[in-house]
Structure formats: structure tokens, C-alpha cells
């Protein structure tokens, strides 16, 4: 069975359900493939330059967020134009800790001093503890997302409305961060991090370690989400996407299913934001607003909204393209990005993962392949 959505009639992702949602033998080959891929990626520190490794690490971190969007948008049918908010919350949580960790007793972060604060805001205080910060990376976005989505979904506000409200959330959050400069660092955001739990972030070892950590989390999230999508929960989530009322009249309450998906998406976004902040060395409102939030959706749209691997691939592809094209041809980049939005969504709703699946399934592709192979002989 194919992993992609096929136009408007999504094919199910589960194997033969009577033999259980975890169709056993089929799992081993993908696992082997995944392991091989992760193993190759784990060698990257010795294959690419330090800068390229950093770039790869950033984009992989973003891939974590993208996989969350597969669950929320592809599987749950809930379009969030506010993932930047959760990305930012994760980033700020870890950044606040690193700012505090660099201070001596009784000192304040520099931006607080020149904003006229003389004491640490109360909500900064817990982040002195690395444990609180690491939990905060996941819990703050998770709890906010759960409360927010529950408040909206329980009143059966969804679809386009939900997308618009999340966009307003992104705008409001970015504005709030900028305007509360004394306690958030404002437009400048937070930057200049020295150490994390005693590790010098400038060292090569730290760069490699963080890269591997990112890779491990991406691999873990990939497997976890696969399990989840293949569970009964995943099946119900897709069923709710395709017929929310039918599911409701079969005795299920759709709200918690959607809330759970949205919350998992937010937790992954928070983790992604924290990792990104560690790799980039900065977190700022520029990462959380309306425009970055909608760009996150396009990574997934390009890769394939129903394919976890596609989402990672799409994230890497779009960001690498941006890195390469926008400096040399800034105007062209904006046209290209706009066109990608239009064309992918209109013609390739399954993204490139869908395209690859489609192509692999058509007989002319096989014929083409044989022709090419034949010629090369």
C-alpha cells in the first residue's frame, strides 16, 4: 500500500487490519532501511564541514516540527498556521535557562538591566534549573496547545476557522514577545549562549553531540509517530478527518483525539525550537510569527503531508533551496516560494512523497526505467 494521499480519496495507512494494526512482518524492512539511513546520517560529522553540519542539524530539528505537522494536518486534517508559536516557546524555554546559567549570583540578563528591570520576573526563576527548562521545552507548548485547541475544538470550531485563529495566535504571540522587551528581550530575542549544563556550546564536541541528539530525537519521533499512526488512535484520527460526525455518531468524542494530535504536534514543535535554538545560537520573534509559521506548513506540503519521511525530506529540500537561492536571486526566491505553494497544493496534494509513490506505481514508469537501463548498457 502507498503512503501517500491519493488526490481526495486518502488511502488508509494501516496494513491488513484483521491481522492487527501492527502488521508484523512488513515492519522489518522499513526498520532496517531507517537504521541504515540513520547510521549514514550519524557519520555526517566526518563527511561534511562544520558549517554544513550545523545547517543539517538545524534543518533536522525543523524536521521534528514537520513530522508533528504530518500528524496534525495530514492525519488529523487540522491545519495549524501557528506552529511557530510552539517552536518559539520551546526555543525560549531553553534560551532562558542558558541566559540564567551564564549569570553570577544576583545578576540579571543584560537586556533586563537596560530595560530598567531590577529583579528577575517570577516566571523566569524556575528556568534556573536545567530540569525545569528541559521539561518546559515540552510542557509549556504542550499545555498551551492542549488548552487552546480544547477551547476551540470543544465548540466544534475547526477547518478554516481554526487555521485563521492559529494564524492570529502567531501574530499575537510575536507581537507580545516584541512588546514585552524587559522580560523577553523583545525584537532582539535571546542570543549569546555560552554553556548548557556545563558543556561549552562553542566546542566541536558540543556541535557533534547536539547533532547526534537531534538525529536521535528525529529517529525516535519517527518511530513513535509511526506506531501512533498505526495504532487504533491513528485510525480514528484519520476517520475523524474524513467524517467527524460519523465518528461522533458511533459514540466517540472527536475533541480529545484532535486535541491529542495538536498537543503532540506542539510538543514536537517545542523540541524542534529548543534544538534549533541550540544550533542557531539565537531565538527571536522572527521565528514565531505569521510568515515563518506558514512556511513550516509548506515544508510538509512539499514533502508530503501524510509521509513522515517526506516531511523531513521536504523540510531539508525547502530550506536548502532557500539557503542556496535567496542570496543569489532574492526576487526569484520569493516568486519560486509562491509558485511552490500554488503548484504543490494544487497539483500535488500528496507532495513529492505522493508523486514518488504514484510514479513507482505506474507501468510507464517501469517501462521508462527499462528503457533507460537498456540504453545505458
Amino acid at each position: 500500500m502507498d503512503m501517500s494521499i491519493h488526490r481526495d480519496t486518502p488511502t488508509p495507512l494501516t496494513g491488513a487490519p484483521l491481522s492487527g494494526p501492527m502488521a508484523g512482518p512488513r515492519f522489518s524492512r522499513p526498520v532496517a532501511l531507517s537504521l541504515a539511513l540513520v547510521a549514514v546520517a550519524a557519520l555526517a560529522p566526518w563527511l561534511v564541514s562544520a558549517y554544513e553540519l550545523n545547517l543539517l542539524a538545524r534543518f533536522l530539528a525543523m524536521g521534528l516540527l514537520a513530522m508533528g505537522l504530518v500528524l496534525v494536518w495530514g492525519q488529523g486534517g487540522v491545519l495549524s498556521l501557528g506552529q511557530g508559536v510552539f517552536f518559539g516557546l520551546g526555543g525560549y524555554a531553553i534560551a532562558m535557562h542558558m541566559k540564567l546559567a551564564a549569570l553570577g549570583e544576583g545578576e540579571l540578563p543584560d537586556f533586563m538591566v537596560w530595560s530598567g528591570l531590577d529583579a528577575l520576573p517570577w516566571w523566569w526563576v524556575p528556568f534556573k534549573s536545567p530540569l525545569v527548562a528541559i521539561l518546559g521545552v515540552m510542557l509549556v507548548p504542550g499545555v498551551l496547545a492542549a488548552l487552546f485547541s480544547w477551547a476551540v475544538f470543544r465548540r466544534r470550531v475547526g477547518g478554516v476557522y481554526f487555521a485563521l485563529i492559529t494564524q492570529a495566535l502567531a501574530l499575537a504571540f510575536a507581537t507580545l514577545l516584541v512588546s514585552q522587551q524587559p522580560s523577553t528581550g523583545g525584537f532582539n530575542g535571546l542570543t549569546d549562549f555560552q554553556t548548557l549544563m556545563g558543556v561549552d556550546l562553542g566546542s566541536t564536541a558540543a556541535a557533534h553531540g547536539l547533532y547526534w541528539l537531534t538525529l536521535a530525537l528525529v529517529a525516535g519521533a519517527f518511530l513513535g509517530l509511526r506506531l501512533l499512526m498505526n495504532s487504533r488512535y491513528g485510525m480514528l484520527l484519520r476517520a475523524i478527518r474524513d467524517g467527524e460526525n460519523r465518528i461522533r455518531f458511533l459514540g466517540y468524542d472527536p475533541t480529545p483525539f484532535k486535541v491529542v494530535a495538536f498537543t503532540i504536534g506542539a510538543v514536537l514543535a517545542g523540541l524542534a525550537g529548543a534544538l534549533f535554538t541550540l544550533h542557531a545560537g539565537v531565538v527571536s520573534p522572527a521565528l514565531v510569527g505569521v510568515v515563518p509559521s506558514i512556511e513550516m506548513v509548506i515544508w510538509v506540503a512539499v514533502g508530503g503531508r501524510n509521509s513522515l519521511a517526506g516531511a523531513i525530506a521536504g523540510t531539508l529540500a525547502v530550506n536548502l533551496a532557500k539557503d542556496g537561492v535567496s542570496s543569489a536571486f532574492p526576487d526569484l526566491w520569493l516568486y519560486a516560494l509562491g509558485l511552490v505553494f500554488v503548484l504543490v497544493v494544487t497539483l500535488l496534494p500528496g507532495g513529492f512523497a505522493g508523486l514518488v509513490g504514484d510514479v513507482a506505481d505506474t507501468s510507464w514508469a517501469k517501462r521508462l526505467k527499462s528503457i533507460i537501463v537498456g540504453r545505458s548498457k
Partner: protein, 302 residues
């Protein structure tokens, strides 16, 4: 000068801001009500109106240029809307969320096109002299309250557009067709109404109104490639608050947003007002998830 002129002034400003939101959101709400799609490039229709006003003023300078610009902007934006509907929206009509994303792409393209055509720094559109003055209350408890003529003019335009639109929907054959499709798309199609043509006309009408709105927005704000973005998110919130595409709902929702923003701004700054507005909207849908004006009928989606 005491508190009263400030509060009265803010109530007026609330109406004034509401009139801007009505104009910005009306076209959006119209096509959303009929086709259930949101056009993310709606802000760029406002932008287009601004640039068309600029071009018109090059041809027709003088005090009445701004009046000439309004029909030009209406038609220009409606024409662009027609192209957009016929090439893109039509194909995506069954996928509202995808329409959102695809039209966002269109909005990026239109912004960049404006940058390449007119430059990134914007162009100069000015209110004519006959609008550039203000009425001040000379005495009494509202002493010092100032009412700018430009804002009165925009209020008048908003009322005129709403009036014309409700007449159009209530009294004309096109309005009848729109109401028929609105009520039951399948049934309307079965009775021989060209539903596609109705969609197209309503979408054009919506973008045309946005173009018109762009002209009056240029009286109070900049005309730049990304000007649409600064109005479009509040316009979306108006649509969420207003409910499914009713004129009345859009007007009341705009008024709620306008008055809320203006009155809250007496106490807190604009940044915080935006946050409070969002919280208000989320709070509001706890009580009225279907929006200000509920459409209660048997035709609930299965």
C-alpha cells in the same frame, strides 16, 4: 480636557476602525459564505487598490482624483479576482484548507510583483485637501474632541458599500441567485442555476470591494507591497467572529473588533490590545461558536 473627550473620541475611533475592517473583510466574508474558501491573497487585493489609486491619481490629479480611483480600483481588483477564481479557486473548491495555502502562494507572488513594478518602498497616495481637515468640538463637556474628515469619509464609504451590497442581494436577480446557491448549492444547480457563474461573480465582487477598500485605506496608511498583510489578519478575525458570510454578521463583528480595540487602547498599548483581542475571540466562540449571526437550518453537514 478631561476623560470624556478621550472616551468619546475612542468610541468614534472604534467606529472608524470598524469601518476599515468592514471594508477589508466584506469581500472575504462574501466569498467565504458562498464557497467556504478563504482567499489569503485578499490583502493583496487591498494593496492592488492602493496602487490603482496611485496610478489613477497620476492620470487624474486634483481634488476629485480619489473619487475616480474608487471605480478603477474596484474593476481592477475584480478583474484580478476573476483570473484567480477561474484558474485556482475553482480547482480547489472542494479543499478549503488547500485553497488557503495556495492563495497564500499567490499573495507572495503578487507582493513580489508589486515590488518589482513599483519598488519596495511604496508610493505616495494623499488625501485631497477637502478631506484634510478636522472638526473640533469647541466647548461643552466634549471640548477638544476632534473628528477627522477623512475618517468620516471612510465611514460614509463603508455605509454606502454595505447599503449597495444589501440592495444587490435583496433586490436584484443576481442577489436572488446568490441567495439560492447560498441556501442549497446542489438544489440550485439542479434547478438550472449556473452555480459556477454565481461563484465567479461573487468572488469578483468580493475582490472588487477589497480593491475599493484599498483606495480608502491609502488615505490613512501606506501603499506598499506588503500593506495587505497588516489588515488581513484582523479581517480574518472579523470573519471568524461574524459567522457564515452574512452582511449583518460581518458588520457587527467589525464593530465589536473596532470598539474593543479602541476602548482597550485607552488602558493598554496597541501590542497588548492585539493579544487581548485574540483572547476575546477565543472567549467569544465559547459562547457563540457559530459567530455573531447564526445560520440555523436543517442543512448541517453530515
Amino acid at each position: 480636557m478631561g476623560e470624556w473627550p478621550l472616551i468619546a473620541g475612542q468610541i468614534f475611533n472604534g467606529f472608524s476602525v470598524a469601518s476599515l475592517y468592514v471594508l477589508a473583510a466584506l469581500g472575504l466574508a462574501l466569498s467565504f459564505g458562498l464557497m467556504r474558501v478563504i482567499n489569503m491573497a485578499h490583502g493583496e487585493m487591498l494593496m492592488l487598490g492602493g496602487y490603482l489609486a496611485y496610478l489613477t491619481l497620476q492620470v487624474v490629479p486634483g481634488p476629485l482624483g480619489i473619487l475616480a480611483a474608487m471605480p478603477v480600483a474596484f474593476l481592477g481588483a475584480a478583474a484580478v479576482g476573476a483570473v484567480l477564481e477561474a484558474t485556482l479557486i475553482k480547482r480547489l473548491s472542494a479543499r478549503p484548507l488547500d485553497t488557503l495555502l495556495a492563495t497564500w502562494g499567490v499573495s507572495l507572488i503578487l507582493q513580489q510583483a508589486a515590488r518589482n513594478l513599483f519598488g519596495a518602498i511604496g508610493v505616495d497616495v494623499r488625501a485631497p485637501q477637502w478631506l484634510n481637515h478636522a472638526y473640533t468640538v469647541p466647548s461643552g463637556f466634549l471640548e477638544g474632541l476632534t473628528i477627522p474628515a477623512t475618517r468620516l469619509f471612510i465611514l460614509a464609504v463603508a455605509f454606502a458599500v454595505m447599503g449597495a451590497l444589501s440592495l444587490l442581494l435583496a433586490r436584484t436577480r443576481i442577489g436572488l441567485l446568490v441567495r439560492a446557491v447560498n441556501q442549497d448549492r446542489g438544489m440550485a444547480a439542479a434547478t438550472g442555476i449556473n452555480v459556477r457563474a454565481v461563484d465567479l461573480s461573487v468572488f469578483c465582487l468580493g475582490t472588487g470591494i477589497a480593491g475599493l477598500a484599498g483606495v480608502v485605506l491609502a488615505l490613512l496608511g501606506p501603499v506598499t507591497p506588503n500593506v495587505g498583510q497588516s489588515y488581513v489578519v484582523p479581517a480574518f478575525l472579523v470573519v471568524v467572529l461574524g459567522g457564515l458570510g452574512s452582511l449583518k454578521g460581518t458588520a457587527i463583528a467589525s464593530l465589536i473588533v473596532g470598539l474593543f480595540s479602541a476602548l482597550v487602547q485607552i488602558l493598554v498599548d496597541v501590542s497588548l490590545t492585539q493579544v487581548l483581542l485574540l483572547l476575546f475571540v477565543i472567549g467569544f466562540i465559547q459562547f457563540r461558536p457559530q459567530g455573531v449571526v447564526a445560520v440555523r437550518s436543517r442543512a448541517l453537514d453530515a
